[in-house]
Symmetry: D3
Amino acid sequence: MQLSEATWPEIRDCESDLAVLPTGSTEQHGPHAPLGTDAKTSAAVAEAGVETYRERTGADVPIAPTIPIGVAAEHRAFDGTLWVSPDTFRAYVRETVASLAHHGFDRVVIVNGHGGNTNALREVTGAISREDAAYAVAFTWFDSIDTEAEMGHAGPVETSLLYHIDDEAICEAELETAREGAGEGWGEWVAGVNLAHDSDEFTDNGVVGDPTTATADLGERLLARSGEGLADLLAAVDSRDR
Amino acid sequence: MQLSEATWPEIRDCESDLAVLPTGSTEQHGPHAPLGTDAKTSAAVAEAGVETYRERTGADVPIAPTIPIGVAAEHRAFDGTLWVSPDTFRAYVRETVASLAHHGFDRVVIVNGHGGNTNALREVTGAISREDAAYAVAFTWFDSIDTEAEMGHAGPVETSLLYHIDDEAICEAELETAREGAGEGWGEWVAGVNLAHDSDEFTDNGVVGDPTTATADLGERLLARSGEGLADLLAAVDSRDR
Amino acid sequence: MQLSEATWPEIRDCESDLAVLPTGSTEQHGPHAPLGTDAKTSAAVAEAGVETYRERTGADVPIAPTIPIGVAAEHRAFDGTLWVSPDTFRAYVRETVASLAHHGFDRVVIVNGHGGNTNALREVTGAISREDAAYAVAFTWFDSIDTEAEMGHAGPVETSLLYHIDDEAICEAELETAREGAGEGWGEWVAGVNLAHDSDEFTDNGVVGDPTTATADLGERLLARSGEGLADLLAAVDSRDR
Amino acid sequence: MQLSEATWPEIRDCESDLAVLPTGSTEQHGPHAPLGTDAKTSAAVAEAGVETYRERTGADVPIAPTIPIGVAAEHRAFDGTLWVSPDTFRAYVRETVASLAHHGFDRVVIVNGHGGNTNALREVTGAISREDAAYAVAFTWFDSIDTEAEMGHAGPVETSLLYHIDDEAICEAELETAREGAGEGWGEWVAGVNLAHDSDEFTDNGVVGDPTTATADLGERLLARSGEGLADLLAAVDSRDR
Amino acid sequence: MQLSEATWPEIRDCESDLAVLPTGSTEQHGPHAPLGTDAKTSAAVAEAGVETYRERTGADVPIAPTIPIGVAAEHRAFDGTLWVSPDTFRAYVRETVASLAHHGFDRVVIVNGHGGNTNALREVTGAISREDAAYAVAFTWFDSIDTEAEMGHAGPVETSLLYHIDDEAICEAELETAREGAGEGWGEWVAGVNLAHDSDEFTDNGVVGDPTTATADLGERLLARSGEGLADLLAAVDSRDR
Amino acid sequence: MQLSEATWPEIRDCESDLAVLPTGSTEQHGPHAPLGTDAKTSAAVAEAGVETYRERTGADVPIAPTIPIGVAAEHRAFDGTLWVSPDTFRAYVRETVASLAHHGFDRVVIVNGHGGNTNALREVTGAISREDAAYAVAFTWFDSIDTEAEMGHAGPVETSLLYHIDDEAICEAELETAREGAGEGWGEWVAGVNLAHDSDEFTDNGVVGDPTTATADLGERLLARSGEGLADLLAAVDSRDR
């Protein structure tokens, strides 16, 4: 259930103590994919996971609105990238979770679509779980799935998922350009340390990986697997001692 | 242009120094209207204003993603209401505007759909304009239009706009209930002071005003007038000395 | 009772759970009125209201010292204007109210003399009332009265009150100059939005309105009406459930 | 010159780059002296020092309004004591000094009347002088003078100064009581460390020292000496490299 | 060169713009290893790396004192564990790096001995490098080396390094106990998400891995490899564009 | 007992509710003494005091690791001086004390070796004792002892203690230089106010006092007296009502 589409009495009548909060980012995804990619993918995975969970258990879990802007200063060399500081992102997430908990939804799974949010989410879910009246964990969909495809950035994995959920969002005419200007790997590594704090240090056009290999079929499988992973997680969060 | 739907090179090629940032809220809107009302209305007004401005001038203005959760602790007695503190809301808006300005969009009009955000937005746009590398003002759509209808909360004005932009979001079956449990006015006033800090002190079901009088026709006129007001404002912001 | 003039045993013996906290500002008031105008007027109104309340009920209410510097960056183009950030102002007020509440004065009416403080006070009294061990509201005297005279800034209303409470503070020789350099209205408005964040954008000498029309008689009536409004408010705050 | 009593053009025409900012406290001063003692004394010393400096040099120095509430949690066991946290006090002082400096008064002497403010003022004047566009130091009047009388708290020194500047503020009938319930010294010391964080741990009525020995004559001498000290300091601050 | 052992003229004469800052933690390391393990290991690795770099290049790099307490709330169920919040840890590191940069050491490698610090260090080095007058990266020694041994917590890797650098710090009598009460893996995982925010959820005695397999020989090799990795990193940091 | 050298079960079995937390500074100590002087001396005094207390009472008190970097911006003109802001220092100390208290060590004596930390420690121990679940005081060793020698900075007192505890840390060859470039007194005083915020305003080489008069004998006596003072304080803290 999308919380935004429900009225307050409908939420009052919802018996769940689970809720899902998607977090995206508005940041460059190469010349072929839209700035809103991570918000789209986190929202789609949240919906898939909640639907799978509903099929398995009959229980409906409210999905809060997607937080659209995250921790993305690393991409600021590319136009249109929006970002807030990790402190502000954590505060926005933490207080949103607190308001969910105020209404009884005190087991919250954050469904995340952006790698740059991951560390901040691990930190803030720890703080929430230790100090606030709620338990929270963060699920970053592309870390939950095994796939032969390369994650990269705006690469085959993300582009495939976009093909499946919103193919009009992809500029097909730019895919070849995207491939040509892509970086070979994420970061510039020496002795296990990434020397690069920003993505323009290792990719000319913001892409890492080859998005021309993306397919809607792979996207469908990725969404299904992510949804199953999220449903597994919701079940575990529902049943554990807080 | 929706920034989220564009790629970074498309944004790079956009010559505007204007941008629009919608701010909503996820909060009770009575038994008949969805929790996401203020995000829907601010997004719709932003789009209408940018379209009117484009028709008048030929210039396209990017619309950032809607900030979905705002300053709404006053509605926390009603289920599903989400909120962050004014400090966190201001920080989230301010840093988002700073990232827009980083890319050259340093004249930002915030299009707001929630009364509870208004004071925080006046404060933060002053701080941005004085201290940061950008100029910003906030446009709260229902304060920009003259109308015979009552604003209230989830009353005829908001409900009419919803009828026009997303009529499926309204629970028509609950309209009569909404009218019956509505408060008569916003607040509990003595000597020019509102004694009530929270809305449940003066409305049983969260509504103020009579939403049964709402019509899609009125909604259409409200959107057109708001869009014109916003286009006027964009022109003024574009041409003024910062 | 002025808290500052009392000893601690006198305050211990005071049975009120009401207290009054005046907030002023130190900021330009044109060429004819002193920088301390808003501190003077808020203190005078506080005293008048507490005296009226004492006459009506027999109860004495302690008046805390006036906070002299507020949210006034908008006037910083004019010499001598002092200001703190809204965050610091809110913290100073909030902690002062907490210390009043520590001693049992946990129903606090802030008596405000400066328009620029209003939004910050609405926000902080909401936070106090929801989260702290006190209830607070803010009474801005010129918003509580109906008058034919124009508020403006350093205009007929404020100047009249000064004539009544401290006529030596007015430079009569500058009144004509004040009138001539005054702005016509507060702000620069387009589509319901004030484009101006600072007062020097719409007034050459800091004045809005015509202070030459001010009279001590009007000042006396304004003080009486404000005092009555404040006494009404104190009664309402005293009797309501917190 | 009292800044609050001046108009903005008068301040504009003032050629000083010196300014004085008094800081008081609103806190218990025993059964015989008012809660506002420290605000009264700091204001009186500021005025005396500025007058002495004017007599010596012909230059007038603006005196900002007294900050009335300071760092006084240590007295919170006694009714009517108001306080803010050291962080908030420092922010309030620092931003006030910044606004003085904005108008060219960038050599600021804080005239302090409360021991509990001293450490916070040393810290914040260091931060201002190192990081902001101003130089500041704090002058705590009773630390600047040699006297045979004991400082204590609400003891002979402060009570004598009150006798001279505002004798009606003293409850003479309570002086004997004040003497009887007074503590013998400030604090509870072991190995050079004061174990007591709060004053009620070592004084029953808030007094330290014997206020019955206070005289207006001593008060007059204390004010003169403090004024001379402050005038010396103003001269030194005026002439030093920042 | 240990900065703490040098005088200020010796540091003035040091021509490096590199510096090393070790960060440890004071936290449980099972029944057999001391609470200060992570401070000892980070200091030892820092020294080894600086020595290797000196042998290779002839250049001496100052080592700042080890920050002894880090982000370790996850171990708070075990006695003696000390921790600060991630915010405070980041501020302490960031300001320390800024003071190094003030003296010209504006390329700083943080040598970290504690997994719980890693995310906070990645975040703060990004902020330093983007916003401050310095470049910084963090080197977590056990992430820089390939080894057949299991990292775990207080397991074979850490225990081996302790055997090599400070064997008296190990309680050999407790090694068997340590092995018996150890957890099998770090965390409690579902769908790629660690449900456990605290270590007592998955280990009875704080250990993960089998410390009885630790040897001083392995410790020696680990230190050598870590020192080489750090020397490689110092060279890369020295030569890159900031 | 050094907490860092103990295992967690050893700390669990320690019955004390006392703990000691040393705070140093890493800052210039003239041409003859190391930057780490204040960390060395506070650690030595902590150890001496805890040993004396153990001899007197049989009770062992855990000593937390020394916080190595403190409030020392005043020395930043001299190379190698490290510092954090007072806010960050207070947060680091406060949270460390809170974690000690979490394990039952809720009577904490901070043993301080740096004058610049003193005000910040007085403030934070007050805040801890009033607001947190612990009692804390700060013992600055050179303020606890009577001695004929001059404290100064890197003068006879500190240098003597270094001679006793770590004579290799002293550059004897620089002692004469140290004496010659030393300032005559700490600060630049007018009317009881130190005009100097930084030490390079009154000392050319960072020294105040004559370190050539230092002796190991005096150092031994200073350490003994400080240890006795600290043991007295521990006894007083142990037995007082919190």
